[in-house]
């Protein structure tokens, strides 16, 4: 009896989480524009989506920004995680405190703050400002993932390599980086998803005419939702599903899972 109750409870929550997604997927194959009647199977909204230049440009923008910003953030964040370890505890705490600000602050405040800064320095809003903003909020996630890996055993190995005559650069590349790799990968993946998913900060720092998937949806919803957006949702959901399954599958062999 108790087991059934548990099962039903989980079932209800899962239904609550997935019902909206299932609705979008079903409607994306609907022949008519109606949101309440399914009149027949059709792929025309997918056609419309792929031939819509605005949607395609938004998809391209989203991914170019996410890739460049997450790679930049990962490089800066990884070096920082190592560099911070060489500092005194007081300095470390100070810097990590500042690192936490974008994580804890509300997105709307971060977005506005960056907007004001760009305008104060006379930087006009465009693709570049979105990129800079995304790097800013991605770096803390990288540091959060990489820093726990910079531990005593890595440091001892690094010192041993130096004692044996390795140059700092050689020891860093051959000893430290391989040890940090899982953390770096997790940071990269986390930044990438955060960047793809971001709306609020992009909303404030984008210039006119630059759209990511999120900002495009926001402006489209105001004029009226077109089913081509359902097609886009379905494709995104399928991609996320495949990616998560892959990551889960790949990390099965190892102890630490990359996501979460």
């Amino acid at each position: 009896m108790k087991k059934y109750l548990k099962f039903i409870y989980i079932g209800i929550v899962v239904l609550f989480l997935y019902l909206p997604i299932i609705a979008l997927v079903v409607l994306s194959f609907n022949e008519s524009k109606s949101m309440s009647v399914f009149s027949g199977f059709s792929l025309k909204w997918y056609e419309e989506m792929f031939s819509n230049r605005m949607i395609m440009q938004a998809v391209i923008n989203t991914f170019t920004i996410a890739i460049t910003a997450s790679v930049t953030a990962t490089i800066i964040g990884t070096f920082a995680a190592v560099g911070i370890d060489g500092m005194k505890t007081k300095q470390q705490n100070l810097i990590l405190g500042f690192n936490n600000i974008p994580l804890l602050n509300a997105d709307i405040v971060t977005g506005i703050a960056l907007l004001l800064t760009f305008l104060m320095f006379g930087i006009s809003l465009n693709w570049g400002t979105v990129y800079l903003a995304h790097v800013t909020f991605c770096i803390p996630y990288v540091i959060l993932s990489v820093r726990p890996r910079v531990n005593k055993s890595v440091n001892t190995l690094y010192e041993a390599a130096l004692d044996l005559g390795a140059s700092r650069f050689y020891a860093f590349v051959k000893i430290v980086l391989p040890e940090l790799r899982p953390g770096i990968l997790a940071g990269l993946l986390l930044s990438f998803t955060m960047s793809v998913d971001d709306f609020v900060i992009t909303h404030f720092t984008r210039g006119a005419g630059i759209n990511t998937i999120s900002t495009l949806i926001y402006s489209q919803v105001k004029v009226g939702i077109r089913p081509s957006l359902f097609a886009l949702s379905t494709i995104i959901f399928a991609l996320v599903l495949v990616m998560l399954l892959l990551v889960n599958f790949l990390s099965k062999g190892r102890k630490e899972s990359v996501i979460y």
Binding site: Y9, V14, P20, I21, S36, G86, A106, I108, I112, L144
Partner: protein
């Protein structure tokens, strides 16, 4: 021999330019008027009835969604904790997956469901039930908040729960404790760090959102986030927008300090 501190230099520059200066910019704009003279007017503008009402509604809706999220997530975390490892992984996967979908698409999905001619009303009509009219009401906004932020409550609580030693719970049962006693005397006190970070991760985004209220409130529900956003995008009154943002930041800081006091072992919280 340790690492060179200079490796962190690009990061420190980035903190300066991307975090410290921007927050200074908000403070500067918030505390000056259009002619760059010092004033407290923008901050005190929170006392205007429109702003006060929006702030009150934001706090109220955020509180309601946080409580609902907690009530849904807590039993779930206990169930997950007590199931075997293979099932756990699958359940985490199920609860994480929607979180990775675009936030705007998820909110849009609820609009599609709740709309006057939307999915739910279509289904209700075919089975002959009266239509549901909650779109553009605070209830729809709360629903959207719960949907968007529920995983942020489930994960930290589960995370802490999974670390509770089985033997502690077995001992309690062996000594004759009832299930409700085990929940209130064992699970609850031991999972406080997770609850605290869960509350933070649901309350603050709910309090500051303007997207959910805009999409599911149909422009009729004005939260403090909507007011600030409009000052920047519509009215271009950056000084007022910044002043109100300062008030909002104050609220965030106060709620964090408040929660921190409950969380003495904050070290292993989610963030």
């Amino acid at each position: 021999m340790t690492y060179k501190k200079s490796l962190a230099v690009p990061f420190i520059i980035w903190i300066l330019a991307g975090t410290i200066i921007p927050i200074g910019a908000i403070a500067y704009y918030g505390l000056t008027d259009r002619n760059e003279n010092f004033t407290l007017e923008n901050v005190l503008a929170i006392g205007d009835s429109v702003h006060l009402q929006a702030l009150w509604l934001s706090v109220l809706l955020a509180l309601i969604s946080t409580v609902i999220c907690f009530l849904i997530a807590y039993p779930l975390a206990i169930i997950m904790r007590n199931s075997n490892l293979g099932k756990r992984g699958f359940m985490i996967f199920l609860f994480i997956l929607p979180m990775w979908m675009n936030f705007l698409l998820r909110t849009m999905a609820w609009q599609v469901l709740l709309e006057k001619n939307g999915v739910i009303n279509g289904v209700l009509e075919t089975i002959g039930l009266p239509a549901l009219e909650i779109i553009n009401t605070p209830a729809a906004v709360v629903l959207g908040m719960v949907y968007d932020f529920l995983p942020f409550m489930i994960l930290p609580i589960y995370n802490v729960m999974s670390k509770i030693d089985d033997s502690v719970i077995e001992a309690a049962y062996d000594l004759g404790a009832s299930t409700s006693k085990v929940i209130t005397k064992i699970y609850l006190p031991l999972s406080i760090p997770g609850i605290v970070s869960g509350i933070n991760m649901v309350f603050i985004p709910s309090l500051t959102t303007f997207v959910i209220s805009n999409m599911l409130g149909g422009g009729k529900i004005n939260l403090i986030g909507n007011i600030i956003e409009q000052e920047f995008t519509v009215s271009s009154n950056w000084n007022l927008g910044s002043g109100l943002s300062l008030v909002m930041m104050l609220f965030i800081i106060v709620s964090m300090i408040f929660l921190e006091r409950f969380d003495k072992t904050g070290e292993d919280s989610f963030i």
